[in-house]
Subunit: 244 residues, 2 copies
């Protein structure tokens, strides 16, 4: 049986387009809700709220930042104490609505600023980082304020859960030595893993339990079976695969 | 400690309005996705896909029918074999999109018709019914084609999981003897239970893990804690409460 397919940035975009196009008929709100829920569940699976209650949720300006905001809200519902780092809030209406939903949950957001002093201070009072900064449409170089933020996060000593692609990595080439690129313990791939994480050796979860069989087969994604009613499935680690 | 509050139809509508208004900032798509997921999870908690794979998902034309369509899709994802009975499809755009999403999952829908022959035949090849026909805005009398469908469902002998209020019951007065009113084994209340189900004695789940604390306190809902990362929580049965 063929293993799961690691997809290109272009195919990731195409699948998103197909899911949200006339044929797929999903709204961004629906997919983002399930994706963010999957991220929150994966973090909770590895880092319990008893030992790692304070989650620093780092959100970029794009759709991955939106996934991060949804995850922050669900983490709040699960009993975690999330704080949002979102130096460049997205401008789209749904992004703004997600921000309001987090505000209504009394989830604090660091003041938006190019100065990373507040981030440095927030890192000191956090137990784990959820990295939803750059998604599959990211292309180097890293621009301000993220160029200053990434090294702080990378050197924080905190465990990191990255969404889709560790921030600073190339979506297809992987870790190409960008200054401050993150080295997460946990990865949550959405819909299908991207080519750049093929050699990722930490705990790897897949989320996005919304891909119809037809679309999965069209693109030969070979997705694994999700267990029970969960929104995530853990992929075998590269180490255990190499042992086989 | 005060128990959970059973709310009126009017307050249920007000809470929905507040969640989706400028202050709450949720979209209908978001809330429906989480509500439908909760319904699917509650059904799966009681009726396993091994013993009860064939779920007849009965959808009304309103928002509860939309919850039903979302639940049908998630049940398909969980490995159940859902079939949709939806004699009067909703006319709103999001409802039509939910239908397409189910079609893309190869979930069959009975032909829309006032004739209940296809329903009678579908009942014979089903293991459990998900009742998402009438929600909290339903007012008797039951109109065609539901006046003929409800008695068929009620006399089917199949276990029934109802959403929010068993179809045929009054949202506030409960089972007032409407012909064909359903008598479900399982109830999934969304957001907060309605006054009409105060004496419901089957297994009772609460879904809708999206109510911010502020809104919960404003309306003194006294919601129970949801376990872990789940989207449902089981409420103590009336029987065990009466024993206390």
């Amino acid at each position: 049986m063929a293993g799961i397919r690691y997809i290109s940035a272009r195919l990731a975009q195409q699948i998103d387009d197909e899911l949200m196009g006339v044929a797929g008929a999903f709204s961004l709100d629906q997919l983002m809700e399930l994706a963010g829920l999957a991220c929150a569940q994966a973090l909770a699976k590895v880092y319990t709220k008893e030992k790692h209650p304070r989650v620093l949720v780092c959100c970029g300006p794009g759709n991955q930042g939106g996934d991060g905001l949804v995850a922050a809200r669900h983490l709040g519902m699960f009993g975690y104490k999330p704080t949002i780092y979102m130096p460049k809030p997205g401008s789209k209406e749904h992004y703004r609505r997600l921000q309001i939903q987090c505000n209504n949950m009394n989830i604090p957001t660091l003041p938006p600023s190019n100065d990373v002093a507040s981030l440095a201070s927030a890192i000191k009072s956090s137990d784990v980082i959820l990295d939803a900064l750059f998604g599959f449409s990211f292309r180097p170089p890293v621009r301000a304020p993220f160029d200053a933020a990434l090294p702080l996060l990378a050197r924080s000593g905190l465990p990191i859960v990255s969404v889709d692609i560790p921030s600073g990595w190339d979506v297809e080439a992987g870790d190409i030595g960008v200054e401050g690129a993150l080295n997460p313990q946990v990865l949550v791939s959405l819909t299908a893993p991207k080519q750049g994480v093929k050699t990722f050796s930490g705990r790897h979860f897949l989320g996005g339990r919304f891909v119809p069989k037809l679309l999965e087969e069209k693109h030969a994604l070979n997705l694994p079976l999700y267990p029970g009613t969960e929104q995530i499935v853990e992929l075998p680690s590269q180490e255990s695969e190499q042992k086989l």
